[in-house]
């Protein structure tokens, strides 16, 4: 299913062989340096070949990589985190983690979608697909941040909102719609980071923000490629084709003015050096907050309005931004 994992396994094998040779070379006092150099050169060649210019579909898999840092990896790297639970009504949705936190000494409300890192956690977290109770927790925490003057920091990582029966019975639409309102009105700076997959309205519910960051190989899309293929062609297996059409890469979206900043990843993706990526994301969130905190609430809200007002807007004189007529 994931074409990356095979190549990655091959790279890991190469890594192991290089390490073995080094060890042998040291232990047995034989000179294996030329063999090592050959393997290393081959290794880097493959690395660049595989990861140098990933296609959108490859990026979808990088975004879904099991070892890619998840929201909790970012949250746990903050100075401090106190988790707040529940929608206050019927359930605490584990697919969303949120609470109060200190980010470089700054008090914030932090909210992230949490997929699992293994099968067990995936089941517990419902693969990061948030139910209405989860979105109501998100809304509650956003309102709390707004009320208390705590900037809101979100981490987006979801295939999409949970599509199960119970979620429909509990008004998934209303839950997301009211999240959108809460983020639109929040009287504090909001910084959203798409760190994995940003799927559809279920992602946007955490991503109306004054500053939107995307990791280099994360994706953000109106629908998952599989969903898009199913909707358009009634054939989810055409996902790769859909991925190419959807313009879901960070680079596309920066060009469209839909995201504000891209944070680079190491060759091979964030999973190859999670600690470094996590630290740089936090640093950039901090820098954004520094800038946004200097803006009055009134101006902040006006700018937030204008930012979204402009996307796909029609101007009678010139063509709408990003929309060619």
């Amino acid at each position: 299913m994931n074409p990356f994992l095979d190549r990655e396994r091959f790279l890991l094998e190469l890594e192991q062989r290089i390490a073995d040779l080094r060890e042998a070379s040291a232990d047995q006092r034989v000179d294996l340096s030329s063999e090592i150099a050959t393997l290393e050169s081959r290794y880097h060649e493959i690395l660049r070949e595989v990861y140098g210019a990933p296609t959108p579909w490859q990026k979808v898999h990088m975004a879904r990589h099991p070892n890619r840092p998840t929201s909790l990896d970012y949250i746990n790297a903050l100075d401090r985190f106190d988790e707040l639970h529940g929608d206050r009504h019927i359930r605490d949705d584990p697919a969303v983690v949120g609470g109060m936190a200190l980010l470089r000494g700054r008090a914030i409300v932090v909210i992230g979608q949490q997929r699992g890192r293994d099968t067990k956690e995936n089941l517990q977290r419902n693969f990061g697909m948030v139910a209405p109770e989860g979105y109501r927790k998100v809304r509650r925490l956003a309102l709390l941040g707004s009320r208390l003057g705590l900037p809101i920091v979100t981490f987006v990582d979801t295939k999409g909102a949970d599509p199960g029966i119970a979620s429909e019975e509990h008004a998934q639409s209303e839950a997301i719609a009211q999240c959108l309102v809460a983020f639109t009105e929040a009287k504090v700076p909001i910084v959203a980071s798409v760190v994995g997959e940003g799927g559809s309205g279920g992602a946007l519910a955490l991503a109306i923000a004054d500053h939107v960051i995307m990791l280099e190989h994360s994706t953000y899309s109106v629908a998952s490629p599989e969903g898009c293929a199913a909707i358009l062609w009634a054939d989810a297996s055409k996902a790769e084709e859909a991925a190419a059409h959807l313009k879901l890469t960070a680079q596309d979206l920066l060009g469209f003015g839909i995201v504000d900043e891209i944070i680079s990843e190491p060759l091979g993706g964030a999973n190859r050096d999670p600690a470094n990526v996590v630290a740089r994301v936090i640093e950039r969130i901090d820098a954004s907050l520094d800038r946004l905190e200097r803006i009055s609430v009134q101006t902040l809200l006006a700018q937030r309005y204008d930012k979204y007002r402009r996307i796909g807007a029609w101007q009678q004189e010139t063509a709408p931004v990003g929309v060619r007529t």
């Binding site: 029966i165 429909e168 639409s173 997301i176 959108l180 946007l204 059409h245 839909i258 996307i311 929309v323």
Partner: protein, 288 residues
């Protein structure tokens, strides 16, 4: 207010030209004269099934007289230069031809029961009522202008969700329209959404469920995820009646289910309450 546009005059005086056409009721199978169907507000004369209505047909049944459209000149774009089996512009051209619409929503101003209102009407016959930049822009213009005029809005939804062929531009219309709706409502203006068959995805998850009062037509399918997506996820058939307006009423999601025959009266009553409330608020604040 602009004079009554030609289309409205024509529609009101609907004549025999299309009377020869038959429509088959998707629920009971009854064959109905197109003219009889129109005369019955596109409700099956046998089983009461509510057919999907065209936007202009809908407007003609709701406004008292004139209707001044806004945003009609907002042009259709192709932000992603999308092409699969067909190019996106070609798909749009086909739908324009077929539906007689320039896009999936018609917005404007008119009177309903004597009340000035902003009116937005989505039409499933254009790209399945999906929301792209044009729908987002027109709806946003509607709420901005209604806010300027300080009049309530009625919005009829019918949508398969966000429009794939406009990618993230389409998704961002949820944010854009939410911003406009929020400003509109924060100024104390009244919003009623009327959910018609079907209302799903991004439209369902934005202005449809941000309204003060949420009305639905009988039998309308309403939900976030589509039936097919859910069935694929849970790997079983959904129960009969799942995601219908009546189901949602029982589950507490919507305020009322109203037969199309009674719909205009119900909306006028709601507008009347809100109008009286607005009068009260204008007077309150000073002690007598």
């Amino acid at each position: 207010m602009a004079p009554m546009p030609e289309w409205l005059r024509v529609r009101r005086g609907k004549n025999a030209t299309d009377a020869a056409q038959w429509s088959k009721c998707p629920k009971c199978g009854e064959m109905i004269y197109r003219r009889d169907l129109a005369a019955n507000l596109y409700v099956c004369t046998r089983c009461g099934h509510h057919f999907r209505m065209g936007a202009y047909d809908r407007i003609s049944t709701i406004v008292d007289g004139d209707f001044a459209e806004i945003g009609g000149d907002v042009a259709v774009g192709d932000p992603l230069r999308w092409a699969d089996r067909k190019s996106y512009p070609a798909k749009l051209a086909g739908d324009r031809e077929k539906s007689g619409l320039s896009e999936a929503v018609v917005c404007g101003f008119g009177q309903v029961g004597g009340f000035d209102v902003g009116l937005g009407v989505m039409d499933f016959h254009f790209r399945g009522g999906t929301m792209g930049t044009v729908v987002g822009e027109r709806v946003t213009m509607l709420f901005e202008e209604a806010r300027r005029r300080h009049v309530p809005c009625l919005i009829f939804t019918a949508s398969g969700g966000a429009r794939m062929e406009e990618g993230m531009y389409a998704l961002m219309q949820l944010a854009k329209t939410t911003a406009a709706v929020t400003r509109f409502m924060d100024d104390g203006n009244f919003l009623v959404s009327i959910l018609t068959d079907p209302t799903t995805g991004g439209v369902s998850a934005s202005f449809a469920f941000q309204a003060d009062v949420v009305v639905a037509e009988p039998g309308a399918m309403i939900g976030f995820a589509g039936r097919r997506v859910i069935e694929q996820t849970i790997r079983q058939k959904l129960p009969e009646g799942f995601q219908t307006a009546e189901f949602l009423l029982e589950k507490g999601h919507i305020d009322m289910v109203v037969h199309r025959r009674s719909l205009k009266d119900a909306l006028v009553r709601l507008l009347d309450y809100a109008s009286k409330g607005a009068e009260r608020r204008a007077l309150a604040g000073v002690d007598a």
